[in-house]
Symmetry: D2
Subunit: 303 residues, 4 copies
């Protein structure tokens, strides 16, 4: 064991630090919105950090992105249009396009430099998605976009960084924002929100997203997935206007998969769908204790 | 953020380092078998490290120990005797004794100094278990014990450190060892083995324990739990002579709980039992690929 | 190389971190004025940290303390009284008392808890100095003491922590303070001030102390010593009313040593006296550029 | 203070670690002989590491290289030819060429890839020296070169990495090697050898080089310089056939400087020459205790 040389240090909290050994620095710079580091780590392969926080890694980005996208896509009976909020690496878009029912996939990310760097240094993430004729890429503030658009969507996927005090995502986790999303969703529309960590000590973002969405949607469910490169259990919240996304028969999901020609799934399969919704007790008991997030009193993430 | 001062550094692999901020060093010394550090960490409270590897923490030792013990105890219809192999902190014993059907609980740990230090500095772990008249504590090599004993047990719990090349656990994960355990188990006997990490990159110990036990037991199942202080999804393998431990009706488990007067459960409840057995796809597909561990060719853990 | 386990991390600047492997934590606590850590380090033996900054170490505290005290003591023709400002570890006092001409040694330190912890855990530092009948220990603000005292001193030794914004030393490096010291010094009085690092990038405290003292004293000289446990070249400023402390003939120093019965010197000897005053070019050229420190515009140390 | 992001970790010893914050990785690769990292550090600017050990930094490479070269060059009455052993960064060569009496400067370094990377990424180090018509660059084993050459030199400069067990410098610090250097030196020839750290705990390389050279040369002297980017006092050993290099009158040095048109000195000046030779007591007393290094029993550097 000889941990000399180049390392990337992530201060998860004041009390816990992660150190990653670095094989190569592929890109390191500041966009208008954040610090972007794309590194080749010995532990995880190519890895994206934003403001020194790990975002996704070659080792398991397929787990994160399939876990984010596929349960919601499969929970919709026949998605033709999808809106991605954030998702700068392009892998969320890639997952959406695996469904050949999709005719239109719109992605709105505020940080054009992040999108550009990801396309260049992490091409496996988008894997050609930007060249797909169904794709529409918009570099803009997602809040502005959803309040101005006159389009409707079958599925909306919120793939945002944590709502930091000074960050661009602060007002993208509020009741007002979700209300507008509810309006632009079609009748059987599904919304999924990456909801932060699902560990015992940090899970109130998930609980609060659940509570907030429960004001608007008939069916709201939290599910969890372990992401090795995050070292953490991770939460996602999925909301539907028409049916419980956590309670769909496996055969129906299998049919949807075949009908839509979905291929290349490495993590998600219909037979694992229901298992995702089993929560550990601490989280199960914490979910009802979330608070409603509003523009006036948004969630501010602090480590 | 000011990460100055006293930290404990765990080198999980050559490529990944964890740093824990230390509030106080409660105990630090070498026993005949290992380096023992008992620290008060800002992130997790009181925490035990053996040979610089985290073992259990105040934050979530209840999760680890209930997850290890309760599924097996509840999978047995009426456990009266239990054998704990390892489990030096005393919390595994504590969990066993929660079942008032238990008349005899035998714990065999090789490291008397670890048991002593844990009783002194981590009293919440054993929580009076050593004073319980049903307890028999034996400081000895567990291999020697199980081959010499003429007693039988309803439940056997293997709570050992990873099988390191030079460590004392190397021959406590082999077919020969498990064969003898099978012999000393009663007809409806259940064995559970803490099986190491269940993450994508490190899970072959779990797969191999599964394969090895499948040579001996009719029913063998792996289940997983996220342990925050380990930063990892963790695997346990449970084997039964008489029924599938992962497929017991919730009502039966509830009855057992009431009948046995089990109280003070903070993580496990009958209604969470079945959910534990949902494995992520990578692990589900990896389990069949384990190899049979033998005395001649044991598992050696290397980071 | 296996740098696991307990380490103490000192953030020297945002850009440079030192990590010290810890054998044992002897004491760790907060006094009214600062965080005090007394550790046994593998690299340096017993070591004192104040507010996470290294102060003195078993390895070379004799170098630091002899370097601070002896040039000034030897530069005075016949010191009978000495005042120590700060010096909580007690080793500065120990050095003063080596001269048997000394009849009265007064030490004023603001932090009684530091003095107490040092006596208990670092007894080699004071080495019986507090039991010496010539010693007078005063726990008080040094500024208050020197403005109120009606005593005079032959030698004054300033052994203070860096003047941090919020720290207790801020107004103990100013013209007003030194003016009062000048008043309470006898006619051939000598003052020496520990003056911080003497490296290329951090040396302006030394330059400014020199400039400030030059307003008051006829002879002011900076000298430097390498302190291994600090990883740095360190500066001291010595000022005299009557002669150049850097230009005393070796024979005279030898005579003083014999006459005063000075023994147990491990670093300083008369034949090394003059060599200390050779400054590296960058420092030699920087000294004239210091500014006069005043109560209105004191020096604030920032890393 | 927020020490997140990219850092380079140097394990100085098992007990002491340095961490440097990295602005940019300019080059990172393996040559046939060693790992080469050229980084832009926040603390020191552009910096070269070989096998994870710091070699020279923009902040103070002028101090290291002037300290290595100029005392020897000035100690020779009229150097016309110089041989540099090692010195891959090119700055040692640059310093030699500042003397316009030099007609021939030969540099022999084993690592052509290091020379190439240094020219590309650290051009300020060589500063055009390789384009100078007086320069002869030879990529070869220095031991082979000096035993085969039929040329003579006025000054020889040994600028090698520490003699590691497996490294290429092991037999370049021995009596046999220095004997051959003595042979190819002209009558008034001067040899200088970078001699490793001069701190209390690591200084026996310097002592042994001194002892070994004292078998061959009439005049051998050790001198020391503080190198901030090394965090250490550093030793150099200079040997002369004809006069004491530490005892030359300043006026003579001044004349040499003028006569040879030496310009652009940032650290060395004749008036600082003598001061370099003042050693701290621990080193002064340690020098006589070195041992004679031989091919059979060479010095092996271990941290």
């Amino acid at each position: 064991m000889n941990p000399e040389g180049l390392w990337f240090r992530e201060i998860f909290t004041d009390n816990l630090i992660f150190g990653y050994r670095v094989r190569e620095v592929l890109y390191s710079g500041y966009s208008k919105f954040q610090k972007i580091d794309i590194l080749d780590l010995y532990a995880y392969g190519k890895t994206l950090f934003l403001d020194n926080k790990i975002q996704s890694a070659q080792l398991d980005e397929h787990i994160y992105h399939e876990a984010l996208v596929q349960p919601a896509m499969f929970a919709h009976p026949a998605p033709e249009s999808a809106l991605i909020i954030g998702g700068g690496e392009g892998a969320t878009l890639r997952e959406v396009l695996k469904h050949n029912t999709i005719k239109r996939a719109t992605m709105v990310d505020i940080d054009g430099e992040l999108v550009k760097a990801s396309r260049k240094y992490l091409p496996e993430w988008s894997d050609g998605a930007y060249e797909d004729s169904r794709t529409e890429l918009i570099i803009d503030d997602a809040r502005k976009y959803i309040f101005e658009t006159d389009q409707k969507f079958d599925v909306v996927i919120s793939d945002l960084t944590e709502p930091l005090e000074e960050g661009p995502s602060k007002y993208l986790f509020t009741l007002e924002f979700y209300k507008r999303i509810h309006e632009i969703l079609t009748d059987e529309g599904v919304l999924v929100v990456q909801s932060g960590s699902a560990v015992q000590t940090y899970n109130d973002l998930a609980a609060s997203i659940h509570k907030t969405l429960a004001q608007l949607f008939n069916f709201v469910r939290v599910y969890v997935v372990y992401i090795e490169s995050f070292q953490m259990l991770w939460a996602f919240t999925v909301a539907s206007k028409s049916q419980d996304p956590g309670n769909i028969r496996e055969e129906i999901l299998e049919e949807r998969l075949k009908y839509r020609g979905v291929e290349n799934l490495k993590f998600y399969l219909p037979r694992y769908h229901r298992g995702l919704f089993h929560l550990p007790r601490y989280l199960d008991e914490k979910i009802p204790e979330g608070r409603i997030l509003t523009d006036e009193n948004p969630y501010i993430w602090t480590a």
